[in-house]
């Protein structure tokens, strides 16, 4: 196997990132637009006129379609990963997505997007493929192996669905790492090597709490807890519901019937939420289809009252995690905050109360960007797995399974065989026998969860042990070994001990795709071939070149152009001509270099244009209008602005 790079991926509800270990420090790899965050939004372009499959776009460009063609866009798909039909249906009450009409109970639900249908894993695969491409573009070499993070409280089916997505995207998933643990790794790189830390991770759609003991480079998780249905999305939905209700009551307009209006309003709700983290009041000011205006002020106190029930739901898991670890709040040395929602002051206050921080003269750790810390940690874990670097050779992560594993016993009760918070890999061996003479099959129902009755737990799979030699009832002795691997995924094997015959097992995962289904969903596999890879790099390099060339083409019409000195204009023209010529060739790296050279030559020009735009805005116009007057180059991110090249 090629010893290529291993990248770390944070496949988030709201945003996704890819990072790698640059020497001794993890670094996020920016996308083509220079941004570290790839919004976890996937859009289907219009159906091509000549037929065929429409193009799928991901990230910022997909986000633009949210308002225009909401029926062709999906976001927050992580909430649907590994979930059954009923759970998905209840999620969809809050999100404007449509299930495919022909979905049946027991199947993996598919989402209708335009004229096509996708499983949640496929949608996630498109996001992963985008991240893979960003990394390949950055390294100028193929990337085939990755570590992907998941919420610590993800169950078996959700983990499997994430692994499937990796495979569909052409990535070998070397490890699934729990998000809070990854965050601890990112912080642990340059931190005191002994202590007990709690990681409080409130993201877009999930909440995790993990408690870890650090000692000599070993990160040993003591306990974990959480809620895979709790996050910033819930806060957005609260604000959104208020606005929708008030608009309906006060203006007689039911926006719920207009998906694109709801999307617009959701964006306003998110903006308001973000503003309330730094300001005392936020405002809604929205023009309604009937010409009315909906205007509303939201003071921070009102906002905090509104979200209190949501935040309060994180307290229970924290207390349970402490109890499971056998620790009091005072025994927690450090608290690390992860996830965009931890920017909310009320969240920080709650964490302070839960862990008695201020009283002990302590503050939670927020030094690393809460949006990036998980990806950075994934990169550290990727480096550990690659096994090639000095900076991580002493580090090892010992994680736990978040939920107990059990078997349905007589009467529908659960016999627990692996307790929650057991260090993984973990295993258990159980013995089964037959109840009827000559019986050759035994059915076993495996569940995950803490409740007493199997019906209240999460059904993982039904195993059918087949090929038991016919014997008197009670005589066969079938040994079944349950093993939870380092990814937190269950593996089962069985053996009939009297005959020594390995019993055949037919695994029917309650919610999951078969191997064949995953195979059939693998995204265009041309990614693998070196040839095609080179071709793709060339196409991407040419696209980038064209973007900057067309921006420079319009430059002389801008007033800023006149402010340039003659030799500056000359340098731009020379770099432009050189790029235009090299672009015709086949050398992607040369095109890149020429693009970068033109970008550098136009840097002062871009600054002048920005100044002009700001001045215009101050004169009472909006930035947007100013942009229109000046041409796209002003407001569109300068295509090469933040990208780095090796």
């Amino acid at each position: 196997m090629a010893e290529g790079r291993v990248v770390g991926i944070d496949l988030g509800t709201t945003n996704s990132l890819v990072a790698y270990m640059q020497g001794e420090a993890p670094v996020v790899i920016p996308g083509v637009d220079g941004s570290n965050l790839v919004p976890s939004v996937v859009a289907l372009d219009p159906m091509p006129a000549g037929g065929g499959r429409p193009t799928v776009t991901v990230g910022n460009s997909a986000r633009k379609s949210l308002i225009e063609t909401p029926e062709r866009v999906i976001y927050s798909v992580k909430r649907l990963m590994g979930r059954g039909l009923q759970e998905v249906q209840s999620e969809l009450k809050l999100f404007p997505f449509r299930l495919a009409d022909d979905v049946e109970v027991g199947e993996v639900p598919r989402i209708q997007l335009g004229e096509l249908r996708f499983t949640p894993s496929e949608i996630s695969a498109y996001i992963l493929r985008q991240l893979k491409r960003n990394a390949e573009r950055f390294f100028s070499e193929p990337v085939t192996q990755a570590v992907i993070t998941v919420p610590a409280y993800f169950n078996d089916a959700q983990r499997q669905a994430t692994k499937d997505a990796g495979r569909m995207a052409g990535l070998e998933v070397l490890r699934l790492v729990n998000e809070p643990t990854a965050a601890a790794l990112a912080y642990g790189l340059d931190r005191a090597k002994v202590g007990t830390i709690a990681v409080y991770d409130l993201g877009g759609g999930t909440f995790d709490i993990s408690i870890l003991k650090l000692r000599d480079g070993i990160f040993e998780v003591q306990s974990t807890n959480g809620d895979t249905h709790l996050g910033g999305d819930d806060i957005d939905n609260l604000l959104l519901a208020i606005a929708l209700d008030e608009i309906h009551a006060e203006h007689g307009v039911d926006l719920r019937k207009h998906p694109s209006a709801v999307q617009g309003l959701r964006k306003d709700a998110i903006d308001a939420k973000i503003r309330l983290s730094t300001e005392a009041v936020a405002r809604f000011d929205i023009e309604l289809p009937n010409g009315d205006r909906y205007q509303r002020e939201i003071p921070r106190e009102v906002f905090e009252q509104l979200i209190e029930p949501v935040l309060e739901r994180t307290a229970g898991p924290c207390k349970q995690a402490l109890a499971d670890a056998g620790l009091t709040p005072e025994q927690i040395d450090e608290v690390v905050l992860v996830g965009g929602s931890t920017r909310i002051p009320a969240v920080r206050k709650l964490v302070d109360d839960l862990f008695h921080l201020a009283a002990r003269g302590k503050k939670p750790h927020i030094e690393l960007n809460p949006d990036e810390v998980v990806a950075l940690g994934a990169a550290v874990q990727a480096d550990i797995l690659a096994g090639s670097s000095k900076s991580t050779e002493e580090m090892l992560l010992l994680d736990v399974t978040p939920l107990s594993l059990g078997i349905e016993a007589l009467g529908g009760t659960v016999a627990r065989i692996i307790q929650r918070n057991s260090t993984i890999p973990a295993s258990a061996t159980e013995h089964f026998t037959t109840g009827v003479d000559g019986q050759t099959n035994v059915a076993i129902h495996v569940v995950q969860g803490e409740r007493e009755l199997a019906a209240d737990c999460r059904s993982l799979a039904r195993f059918d042990l087949k090929g038991i030699p016919p014997m008197s009832a009670g005589l066969p002795r079938i040994e079944v070994r349950f093993l939870i691997d380092a990814d937190g995924i269950l593996k089962v094997s069985a053996r009939e001990q009297r005959s020594g015959k390995a019993a055949r097992i037919e695994v029917k995962p309650t919610y999951g795709l078969t191997d064949e289904q995953v195979e059939s969903m693998i995204l265009d596999s041309f990614d693998h071939a070196e040839d095609d890879f080179a071709k793709r790099l060339l196409i991407e390099a040419r696209n980038e070149a064209e973007t900057i060339l067309s921006a420079v083409e319009r430059a002389p019409q801008s007033p800023a152009w006149q402010q340039l000195r003659g030799e500056e204009q000359g340098a731009i023209t020379a770099a432009r001509d050189r790029l235009a010529q090299i672009k015709q060739g086949e050398d992607a790296a040369a095109i890149r270099d020429a693009t970068l050279a033109l970008d550098q030559a136009t840097r002062r020009f871009a600054e002048l244009m920005m100044d002009a735009a700001v001045t215009t805005a101050i004169r009472g116009k909006t930035m947007e209008n100013a942009g229109e007057e000046m041409g796209d180059a002003v407001t569109a991110p300068h295509p090469m602005a933040q990208a780095e090249f090796k």
Binding site: V6, L174, R175, D216, L385, L396, P425, A426, S427
Partner: protein, 230 residues
């Protein structure tokens, strides 16, 4: 720490073919990882079965072995080594989880020596009067009455301060009895670890009885805690 003598069955290393005993996780000759060894949880840590363990030494050994065995160290290894790393680490984790916890460790050792230890299932038999330790019969009868009363009062939304106080007192008493059992168990550990065959047999019998009593008390305390906290 007590170390295992070289008494296990010899097998050949899959990689270098040099013979070694089957209780080892790594080939002493070429250091390659080996398939899961036979033997008990104690032998994973190179220990003979005994009860009075040094927990910090156990943790240290757990970390040392984890560094060498964990699947993270074999992410890019050949498939067979990957499989063995997974199986060996599962064994190491199972062993550590069992041995570091005093009650689990005692139960495990007694089972190794053929003792039948009552399984802790969802508590169906906990009301069985024949299982109530004789010295607690009266108190348990009284306690169960109070628990019923408390639950009934809770259902009606009433609070009975006197009953509450009485239950809390009972809980403290049973907690104290549990501590006594734990103390007695520790004494038997020493008797088992250091005694001859006869002393061991006696200690074994005493520990089985203590574990039964402890399980019973534990269920009682859990009942009271649940009822008080409901």
């Amino acid at each position: 720490m007590l170390k295992v003598l070289d008494s296990a069955v010899p097998v050949a290393c899959w990689s270098c073919a040099v013979a070694h005993n089957d209780a080892t996780l790594f080939c002493p000759h070429c250091s390659k990882i080996q398939p899961p060894p036979g033997g008990d949880y104690f032998s994973v840590f190179g220990l003979v079965p005994h009860l009075d363990l040094d927990l910090s030494e156990l943790e240290h050994e757990f970390h040392r072995l984890s560094r060498k065995l964990h699947p993270d160290r074999f992410a890019r290894a050949a498939d067979n080594e990957k499989q063995w790393s997974l199986a060996d680490t599962a064994l190491l984790n199972d062993a550590y989880r069992t041995l570091r916890e005093p009650i689990h460790r005692t139960e495990y050792l007694l089972k190794l020596h053929g003792a039948a230890i009552g399984e802790e299932h969802s508590g169906k038999d906990r009301k069985d009067p024949s299982r109530v330790p004789a010295d607690l019969l009266e108190e348990v009868f009284e306690l169960n009455m109070q628990l019923e009363e408390m639950r009934a009062a809770r259902k009606m939304g009433e609070t009975d301060a006197e009953l509450q106080a009485s239950l809390e007192q009972a809980k403290r008493k049973f907690d104290g009895l549990m501590d006594e059992v734990d103390h007695d168990l520790r004494a038997q550990w020493k008797a088992w670890d250091e005694g001859d065959a006869g002393a061991r047999a006696a200690a074994q019998k005493a520990m089985v009885a203590l574990l039964d009593r402890r399980r019973y008390l534990n269920n009682l305390v859990r009942d009271v805690t649940e009822t008080l906290g409901a």
